[in-house]
């Protein structure tokens, strides 16, 4: 099985995630898409590590997972507090930084 297939798959997953971030309105769904992008990157890293024969990519994938976990904690906390004060989870409604 050639590694390029894995790369194509992760590119596809990354684009889906990117489009999802841009298009979806629910904050939680946006978050899931961000997770999708991160996992696509993980797949890319592992694939390249297999292609190059070293372990660097796999170690980096661990780092990415830790960062993703921390980011989810913080992000969900923010969304929760916005939801509590604004009673809406649509990101379009959080536009107070408008000029």
């Amino acid at each position: 099985m050639s590694p390029t297939n894995y790369l194509l798959l992760s590119a596809l997953l990354f684009s889906i995630g990117a489009v999802g971030v841009l298009v979806r309105r629910n904050a939680i769904v946006v978050f899931m898409c961000v997770e999708l992008m991160l996992n696509a990157v993980n797949l890319t890293l592992v694939t390249f590590s297999r292609m190059n024969g070293g372990l660097d990519g796999q170690v980096m994938a661990f780092f990415v997972m830790v960062v993703a976990a921390a980011e989810v904690v913080v992000g969900l906390a923010i969304i929760m507090s916005i939801f509590r004060t604004r009673r809406s989870s649509s990101i379009d409604d959080a536009n107070l930084l408008k000029y």
Partner: protein
């Protein structure tokens, strides 16, 4: 060419010559610094310093007369004032006959006027300040005449200009006084530019400003430079002495207290211009064109002053125009070259006596008439103020050149020398001077008749503060100086002319007095001609003014010469049109350029930024998704750039 004298070092009493100006300067300093604490004794300190200077000056003078003629020019070097590359200016004094004559005039007349002022300014709360400023003036004037180089002269020149400004504007509650002081200073400044340029020319061409060196080497200058220096010095003299075209500040300067008018604007400061030209005689001896310009200015001025003086009712203004005219005579005299330098100085001395006396007399009259200066409100004051009247009349007779009083000797000598000028100049100068002598007699007689004789027009009038007029004689502090000056007016001319005493005394400084070549009229005719014109002027004044009652209200319907004379022969209108209005327009233009141009550029830069920022901030929509899109777009650009670099 006259031989220049040897300059010796000053010894004996002359080594104390620096006290001459240091004492009044210290007096001024003390009086300015101590402020109101000195109000009760300040004026006596002021009198003391000037009297002390007079005593020292007299001692130096007496010592100098004891020296042989060849040794009478001495210099006393005090310290080096400016010493930079190429420019070395000494702070030193020149004690030769010319400067000593001026020292005696300044300190002598100055002392008398200081004593007069103790009485005249007795009720003024600013009396101490007055004496401080008057002392400052005396100090500056002494520096002017005693300096041994042109830069020290300039220092004194500026100092007297400052003192004049302070003293003209002495009555700080009168806007007219402030305006007059400003006008005097500005017109002086115009003249000062001329003097400064002359000093620059001397330095760039000769490398020195010291009198002794300049006069020795004046022959090295090219004719063009000589004429330029001569005319620039004349410009300076015009500014300081109130000659055409810078004459209109002098009558306005009468806003100052009368002792100021007597000391500064009659006897001393306005004569600084004559001193300058007389001192620079080695330069003027070398340039006939320069001398011609000087004489023409003198002639024009003496006529202007005489014509305008006939039309004014303000006693001080008439005397002021008379001063302008008489200084015109002095300038005419020094412009005649070696034939006239000593005559100009002689007239300067006699004029100092009688004009100061006349001004002090006018002050006495004003004192008696509650400071009213309008002669139409006077009349018949002779019996109420005998001493003032008699001293005033003696000064008047001296001024019009009554035979054998001082003015007769000095003015006639000048007119004789004027007639003796070559060619058309003799007729023009002599004729104009004689005509002006007649006009002088006319307006002075008019003044005297309106003031001291005739009907007592003030009996039915009330003064400006609503009180009746009670003319009375002035106190002794005022009448004593007037008497002394009247004595000088009577005898000074005879004493100084007798055997050409003054001319001979001044010859180390001014050269030998040359008899003019016999020109237009023979010598013997001129005195008769001048006396005749003067007598004619007196007669006309008696017929026109003395025999008819003087109207208390100023007549409005007058002939055009009188109208022109009342408007100062349109001198002020001309100044306004030529200088003031364009100057105001220029400053208004600059202000507009600054407000709209410079401020516009700066404010425009600001509003440009504000405008562009208000356009650009529309990118901040607050919309999270559009931010996400721009982040994505940005990262795509970075990747594209990396790839392009990699595969380029």
């Amino acid at each position: 060419m006259t031989e220049l004298p040897e300059i010796g070092a000053a010894t004996g009493v002359a080594s104390l010559a620096w006290l001459l100006f240091v004492l009044p300067a210290l007096g001024a300093l003390v009086l300015f610094v101590t402020g109101r604490r000195a109000d009760r004794w300040g004026h006596w300190l002021g009198v003391l310093t000037v009297v002390a200077s007079f005593v020292i000056g007299l001692l130096i003078f007496l010592e100098t007369t004891g020296l042989p003629e060849a040794e009478r020019s001495r210099e006393l070097s005090l310290f080096q004032w400016i010493g930079v590359a190429g420019l070395h200016v000494d702070f030193g004094l020149r004690l030769d006959p010319l400067s000593l004559t001026f020292v005696l005039l300044i300190t002598g007349v100055g002392s008398l006027i200081h004593i007069y002022s103790t009485g005249y300014m007795g009720h003024d709360p600013g009396r101490r300040r007055f004496f401080a400023q008057l002392n400052l003036f005396v100090a500056a004037m002494l520096v002017l005449v005693l300096g041994n180089n042109f830069v020290m002269l300039y220092l004194g020149w500026e100092g007297v200009g400052l003192a004049s400004y302070l003293l003209i504007g002495f009555y700080q509650d009168r806007p007219s006084a402030a305006t007059a002081a400003k006008k005097a200073f500005i017109m002086n400044r115009v003249g000062d530019v001329g003097l400064a340029i002359a000093i620059f020319l001397l330095w760039t061409n000769l490398g020195t400003v010291q009198y002794s060196e300049v006069f020795e080497r004046a022959g090295e200058l090219s004719p063009g430079v000589l004429v330029a220096i001569a005319v620039m010095l004349l410009l300076g003299a015009c500014g300081k002495s109130g000659q055409f075209p810078l004459q209109s500040w002098l009558p306005d300067a009468m806003e100052g207290p009368t002792p100021v008018s007597a000391l500064i604007h009659a006897a001393t400061m306005v004569t600084a211009g004559v001193y300058l030209i007389a001192r620079a005689n080695p330069i003027y001896n070398l340039t006939e064109t320069g001398r011609l310009v000087v004489t023409l200015i003198g002639v024009i001025t003496l006529l202007i002053g005489a014509i305008i003086g006939c039309a004014y009712d303000d006693i001080k203004k008439v005397l002021a125009y008379s001063t302008v005219s008489q200084i015109g005579y002095m300038i005419l005299a020094v412009g005649l070259g070696p034939a006239g330098y000593a005559l100009g100085i002689l007239h300067l001395l006699t004029h100092g006596f009688f004009k100061a006396g006349l001004f002090l007399g006018a002050g006495s009259v004003m004192h008696a008439m509650n400071d009213n200066v309008d002669m139409r409100h006077y009349g018949g004051l002779f019996k109420h103020m005998k001493i003032t009247s008699i001293t005033f009349l003696l000064g008047y007779l001296a001024l019009i050149g009554f035979p054998f009083l001082s003015g007769y000797f000095s003015k006639d000598a000048i007119i004789e020398a004027a007639f003796a000028a070559p060619g058309w100049q003799g007729w023009v100068f002599g004729g104009a001077a004689t005509l002006a002598a007649g006009l002088t007699a006319f307006y002075m007689t008019r003044l005297v008749l309106m003031t001291f004789f005739g009907e007592e027009r003030w009996k039915d009038l009330k003064s400006a503060d609503g009180k009746d007029y009670h003319p009375h004689e002035s106190p002794a502090s005022m009448t004593a100086p007037m008497i002394l000056l009247a004595v000088g007016s009577v005898f000074a001319g005879f004493l100084l002319s007798n055997g050409e005493l003054l001319a001979h005394w001044l010859s180390p400084s001014l050269g030998e007095l040359q008899e003019g070549a016999h020109g237009a009229l023979p010598h013997e005719v001129v005195p008769w001609l001048v006396v005749g014109f003067s007598a004619l002027g007196v007669l006309i004044a008696y017929l026109v003014v003395g025999r008819r009652p003087t109207p208390v209200e100023r007549p409005v319907k007058v002939s055009w010469p009188v109208r022109a004379a009342r408007k100062d022969l349109y001198a002020n209108a001309l100044n306004e049109a030529l200088f003031e209005r364009p100057g105001l327009a220029l400053t208004a233009g600059f202000v507009a350029t600054d407000d709209r141009g410079v401020d516009g550029v700066v404010n425009g830069a600001g509003s440009l930024l504000t405008g562009s920022s208000s356009v650009l901030r529309r990118a901040q929509t607050g919309f999270v998704r559009s931010y996400a899109l721009s982040m994505l777009g940005g990262s795509l650009l970075v990747v594209a750039a990396l790839l392009a670099v990699r595969f380029a």
